[in-house]
């Protein structure tokens, strides 16, 4: 993902906030911060066994209606000492034939359920391996146009969605040699952050990509239901070499809330990637097709008004190196201090894989805080 310069973002912020303050109808403004303390026994980490601190992200959201039929959402993020435009899109909410909704701009693509969430909202703290490796470091985010239809089928709800994408999903992977890609994934352990700026991007020309989602929600009660979804993406990684990528995914989510204070969420997703990768000695054109699979599954039990706990298991093969995989399991818990504006989360996890000499254990403590309006959670 491209990084933007601080002055540019500062000027934009001052313009937007200043203009908003001068109007009677201001957008909702909210800020979410994510502060972390962590430790790892990863022998390759120079700070092995030492407590480390990090400001993982700060997100500024500007949201509001454009007119009675449309709204706009803008998210600016601070990560790794730089700002970026995370999302900026307008949505036509109502008034189109058949209940069609149209979204245009830069946004998190509806490939699965989890990719729509910003990572600070994860109960399990970190982006799953399979998303990081097969969708990109920060998930699947691109400039595009989304068409979304939702219709009742008896008691169920069918969602059909399609995206035309600019092709920035190719930037989620940095096209160095495979060995360096391996290090990019392994280096993330213990820090919860990758310093992407140290990786050198190659200039690539992408072409439009396309993604589709089919989802079916089945209510099982007034406050319970499950959804299953199928996802696909086709795109060009490099117009010059003609390298392509295809993604397939399937996801399922079940939620049950027996009373005001308790709820159970069980969710999982499987993704398969078929990606053309440049390798010296890969035959004619130096390109070979690499297939990679991965999944995550988690269970999150909110057992009291402000407490939750759960487990997550995940595995992913590397997108650009055949047969190299990593697995990890973790246990997490969360506590809301006073209100949901301040949350403490802890994650204990163990990772193992083909490129790790021995299993790596990590402990991560997160303080997530939010200022401003808090919108309800989508299923």
């Amino acid at each position: 993902m491209k990084r933007t310069k601080v002055p540019w973002v500062t000027a934009l912020l001052l313009t937007v906030v200043g203009a908003a303050a001068a109007q009677n109808v201001n957008p909702d403004i909210s800020v979410i911060g994510d502060v972390r303390a962590f430790a790892t026994d990863d022998a390759s980490d120079p700070k092995e066994g030492r407590l480390q601190l990090d400001l993982k992200s700060v997100e500024l959201a500007l949201q509001g209606y454009l007119n009675p039929y449309a709204r706009a959402d803008v998210f600016l993020g601070y990560h790794d000492d730089s700002f970026e435009l995370e999302e900026a899109y307008a949505t036509i909410l109502r008034g189109l034939p058949g209940g069609l909704q149209v979204k245009a701009g830069k946004y998190r693509v509806d490939f699965g359920k989890l990719n729509l969430l910003h990572p600070h909202a994860y109960s399990f703290l970190d982006t799953p391996l399979v998303h990081r490796e097969l969708l990109g470091e920060e998930g699947l985010v691109d400039i595009g146009v989304n068409l979304n239809l939702q219709a009742p089928l008896g008691n169920t709800v069918l969602t059909v969605s399609g995206n035309v994408l600019k092709g920035d999903f190719a930037e989620g992977h940095h096209h160095e040699h495979a060995a360096e890609d391996t290090s990019s994934m392994l280096d993330s352990f213990g820090r919860g952050l990758d310093d992407l700026d140290t990786l050198e991007e190659e200039a690539v020309e992408t072409d439009l990509g396309y993604s589709e989602r089919l989802g079916l929600f089945v209510p099982t009660g007034d406050y319970a239901g499950f959804e299953v979804g199928l996802n696909a993406l086709q795109g060009t990684l490099d117009l010059n070499t003609g390298r392509k990528v295809k993604l397939l995914g399937a996801d399922a989510k079940y939620r049950w809330a027996p009373d005001k204070y308790r709820s159970l969420t069980v969710q999982g997703e499987w993704i398969r990637s078929d990606r053309d990768v440049e390798h010296a000695g890969a035959g004619e054109g130096g390109v070979e097709r690499v297939r990679a699979d991965g999944f995550y599954a988690f269970l999150d039990w909110r057992f009291a008004q402000r407490w939750n706990a759960g487990v997550i298991g995940e595995r992913s093969e590397m997108a650009e190196e055949e047969g190299v995989s990593i697995e990890r399991v973790g246990a997490f818990a969360g506590f809301q201090l006073m209100e949901e504006t301040t949350t403490l989360r802890v994650l204990l996890r163990q990772s193992d894989g083909d490129e790790l000499a021995e299993p790596v254990r990590e402990a991560i403590l997160q303080l997530a805080f939010s200022l401003g309006p808090h919108r309800a959670h989508w299923f």
Binding site: Y65, G99, D222, Y223, R255, R375, A376, H377, F379
Partner: protein, 301 residues
């Protein structure tokens, strides 16, 4: 929702043709559905987003809720920033002909802050306390707002709807007089409540809310605050602890046990307990339980 949005949606609603089918009304809380049903009779169907013994402050946005609103003609929300989730459901419904009614518009608001509201005050509502349906007299302004929407869709039924509302309010007024007489012997009685749900009720029925279990709205009881409340309860001034049935009763029950002040745990929404099927049953339960407790008797479970 901003007023321009409401205005345009109302205009769209005006253009929608009356079909002869029952008017489909979806409400944030079942109490509004009870009023809409009283106004519309057989010409209206009602459904509530919040059901049972649930907290109206927090709702998860299930796709099935969007579909309910997709087919609706009218949505009645609480407003005053209580059911902020309602706007997301309305947007998710993609229903361009939906008439959105903010039932708070004609309410005389209580506890409107005269200072800048932020999260340091807890979950304080900047435009006033939103629990206005707990005054039975507010059925009139709520009903007027609903009536205006129903009459917009079915202008030919406006007279009938008006008569139905007048009749409903008259019956509720008569019942309110009985409920007031029930609590009249306890006028001015000091009561602690769990959440700040009761200013409208307290004004109507002459009780005085002197403290809350929550130190700030939405903030759970802290040990320091509970200790202060224990001291207050031991003075003998406070006659009851009044709480909403959807909150966790462990702390108020402990306070009641240790101080001897009766705990009155009552439903605050229609449909949130067996037999609480309309506003009459709701206020009968609340006033009956509170009167028994204030008289020194055992409150109803």
């Amino acid at each position: 929702m901003k007023k321009p949005l409401l205005t345009v949606l109302l205009a769209v609603g005006l253009a929608s043709a009356a079909s002869g089918e029952p008017i489909r009304v979806v409400t944030s809380i079942p109490d509004f559905g009870a009023i809409a049903a009283a106004i519309g009779g057989a010409d209206v169907t009602t459904e509530s987003i919040v059901k049972g013994n649930r907290d109206v402050h927090a709702v998860e946005l299930l796709p099935s809720l969007m579909m309910k609103v997709r087919k609706a003609d009218v949505y009645v929300k609480v407003g005053l920033d209580l059911d902020l989730w309602a706007q997301q459901i309305i947007d998710g419904s993609r229903n361009p002909r939906l008439l959105v009614v903010d039932a708070s518009e004609r309410i005389v608001k209580l506890e409107v802050p005269d200072f800048k509201v932020d999260a340091s005050h807890g979950d304080l509502h900047a435009h006033g306390n939103p629990h206005y349906w707990l005054d039975p007299a507010n059925a009139r302004p709520i009903g007027e707002a609903i009536l205006a929407a129903l009459a917009t869709i079915e202008p030919g039924m406006a007279t009938t709807f008006r008569a139905n509302l007048d009749g409903y309010v008259a019956r509720l007024d008569a019942a309110t007089a009985v409920w007031q007489s029930r609590l009249a012997p306890h006028a001015g009685a000091e009561v602690i409540s769990f959440h700040s749900s009761w200013p409208y009720f307290a004004r109507r029925f002459g009780i005085t809310i002197v403290e809350h279990l929550e130190p700030k709205p939405g903030v759970p009881p802290t040990p320091t605050h509970v200790a202060a409340l224990t001291e207050l309860l031991r003075t003998g001034r406070v006659k009851a602890i009044l709480m909403e049935s959807y909150f966790d009763d462990r702390v108020p029950a402990m306070l009641s046990r240790t101080t001897g002040v009766p705990l009155v745990k009552v439903p605050v929404l229609v449909g949130s307990a067996p037999g609480i099927d309309d506003q009459f049953a709701l206020f009968e339960e609340i006033t009956g339980s509170l009167a028994r407790a204030l008289a020194g008797g055992r409150p109803a479970d």
